[in-house]
Subunit: 355 residues, 2 copies
């Protein structure tokens, strides 16, 4: 089925487009009443992730409301550790937890390399189904957590403020940390390639906790494994390039190194001006971002002004994908996201040659 | 009383020293059993802060154990909003809370400018007492939270992950935000000047949540108010310069602007290499930092290696104060901090002209 809107894929490859494409991290999420209804119907967050029809349904919901330029498959970043046997569960108000967090070298060595076509079949089934249901309207993105970000949850047993246990492993026993991160890099590669085979037309790696690491530790324990994944991904499928986006939150001191990783685009948070980020990465990669999600809590006229400011900070030319600098929060009024999307459509055409 | 060890004050002013001075953010804290004993004796954290003899005692405790080059007065960053009438209290495991968070322009306009010599007398009394008790062994630092960081707690009513309410105010009603931040900047100036009058020999402003702001919002709502404070501080007392340190966590994209603020030194977190931070600020300011606090969870040989690496990243020459990139955590073994301090003493003399 022909892709009717390839604005996102073009922008990620820095090809000319008529206007800046826009999608929103966590666009299928709790700020949407229809999402909450489907989640209630599913019974639990895990059931929602693990039932392809329901995951497909919530993936499509934001496309029915908004003129978005991409869908991203609804799933959780912790599906991989769950498939490795750690026992993912959710406690309301406390976030994700693992029944069996990692606490020894022996446990890390015993971790299996999951057979994606078996234990993560529910994700690739959701991808195939959603790709079919979208009917070529917009591209579908796949995603995974980065090895380091997955490792933090696997070692801490859940969310953490300071990542003390995970970092202690890196510093105290780097060899064991490398065993774990190497296994995760292999599995993430398998997982993203399986999503691409199933129909994902681009992929994003979420390195949510990259910014917790020191400058040197980030290179050794996070970036090098994302690089290994980028090297192992199928970069073409069905005759079309598959763009790869890396998003390391809080890692603006690493932009140059990230741009040299071989990925196509970098997600950028709001602590750097896009003009400065663009100057630093040059024409090596596209940039995705970077509106502060909290701006969606303000009124539509404020949102409009800040969207315009963000577009103008990137400036004229190709290689910008509009997004937030992190996921949309549950307290956002859905009409406010509408205002954001309308402002991108209004202000961005003037910035593009393809117009 | 003559100051016997002025290594810290010299290093903050980029004057020659025999070795790199070291102090540790939150050095009087929960990782020390003697601190826990005094806190238990006080009955509550607030009582500990508000009783000058006890605040003095815990300020001095780390100096008895370690060869530190400074003391920092024991207090809390939220004393100012408490003095403005918001009703600070602590819930174990949940951090600080306010009984009466700010929710309207009228409440912000009604906020008083506290008379420091009355409502914050317990802090200046603790400073005078501690200065006397230290007996010139090392200098005593005073501190305050930054206006933006104080404002987040005052609007959110406590800690926050995303600062949605506080940021909504900035974007939706910047005029009201400026009224609040302006009042806080005046009060912080009064407060730090009162600490200097009482005997503080240097001061640090903690902008713990500066990194939550976008690049532009940081300049408008955080940096400009810190600058206003720096401009209003007594920079000399009793014939000696009073160095001013700004610490904006997660704001490495702002280092150049921070260096132009008129302060003497910048605290730096561990997401940037000190070599790069030094290159960017040039000889405008000294740098303080930047070991990842989690390194103190590893064994002494690892700590030794990472201290050396941090010192060498700054490199030869003046203007480095060794510290962590954020506060020491309660789970640290006190002997591990000893290893850090010993390593600074061992490796740093070779880097200094004053040696």
């Amino acid at each position: 089925m022909k892709l009717k809107n390839d604005r996102l894929l073009k922008a990620l490859l820095r090809e000319p487009v008529d206007r800046t494409p826009v999608w929103i991290m966590r666009q299928a999420g709790r700020y949407l009443p229809e999402y909450l209804a489907t989640r209630a119907e599913a019974g639990s967050f895990m059931q929602l992730c693990q039932t392809p029809e329901l995951a497909c349904e919530v993936t499509l919901q934001p496309l029915r409301r908004y003129d978005l330029d991409a869908a991203i498959i609804f799933s959780d970043i912790l599906t991989i550790p769950d498939a490795m046997g750690l026992g993912l569960y959710f406690v309301t108000g406390e976030g994700p937890k693992f029944e069996r967090p990692l606490s020894s070298r022996a446990e890390i060595e015993a971790l299996p390399r999951p057979d994606i076509s078996d234990s993560l079949r529910y994700v690739t089934d959701a991808v195939s189904l959603t790709r079919r249901e979208i009917g070529g309207k917009v591209p579908l993105l796949g995603f995974s957590g980065s090895p380091w970000t997955l490792a933090t949850y696997m070692i801490e047993g859940g969310s953490s403020k300071t990542f003390g246990k995970a970092k202690r492993l890196l510093y105290q026993d780097p060899n064991t940390a490398h065993v774990l991160l190497g296994k995760l890099a292999e599995t993430v590669t398998d997982y993203l390639n399986a999503q691409i085979e199933a129909g994902a037309q681009g992929v994003q790696i979420f390195d949510t906790w990259g910014g917790a690491l020191s400058f040197d530790a980030y290179r050794e324990f996070s970036l090098s494994y994302m690089q290994q994944i980028v090297d192992g991904l199928k970069r073409e499928h069905d005759g079309r390039k598959i763009p790869v986006i890396l998003f390391s939150k809080g890692c603006n001191t690493q932009l140059e190194a990230l741009a040299d990783s071989g990925c196509d685009a970098l997600g950028v948070d709001w602590t750097i001006a896009l003009s400065e980020a663009r100057r630093r990465v040059g024409d090596r990669v596209a940039l995705q971002g970077n509106l502060d999600p909290s701006i969606l809590l303000a009124d539509p006229d404020v949102i409009r002004r800040e969207v315009r400011r963000t577009l103008e900070s990137f400036g004229p030319g190709e290689g910008h994908v509009f997004n937030l600098g992190h996921g949309i929060t549950p307290d956002v009024d859905p009409d406010h996201l509408q205002a954001l999307i309308a402002a991108v459509a209004e202000f961005s055409p003037a910035l593009h040659r393809g117009n």
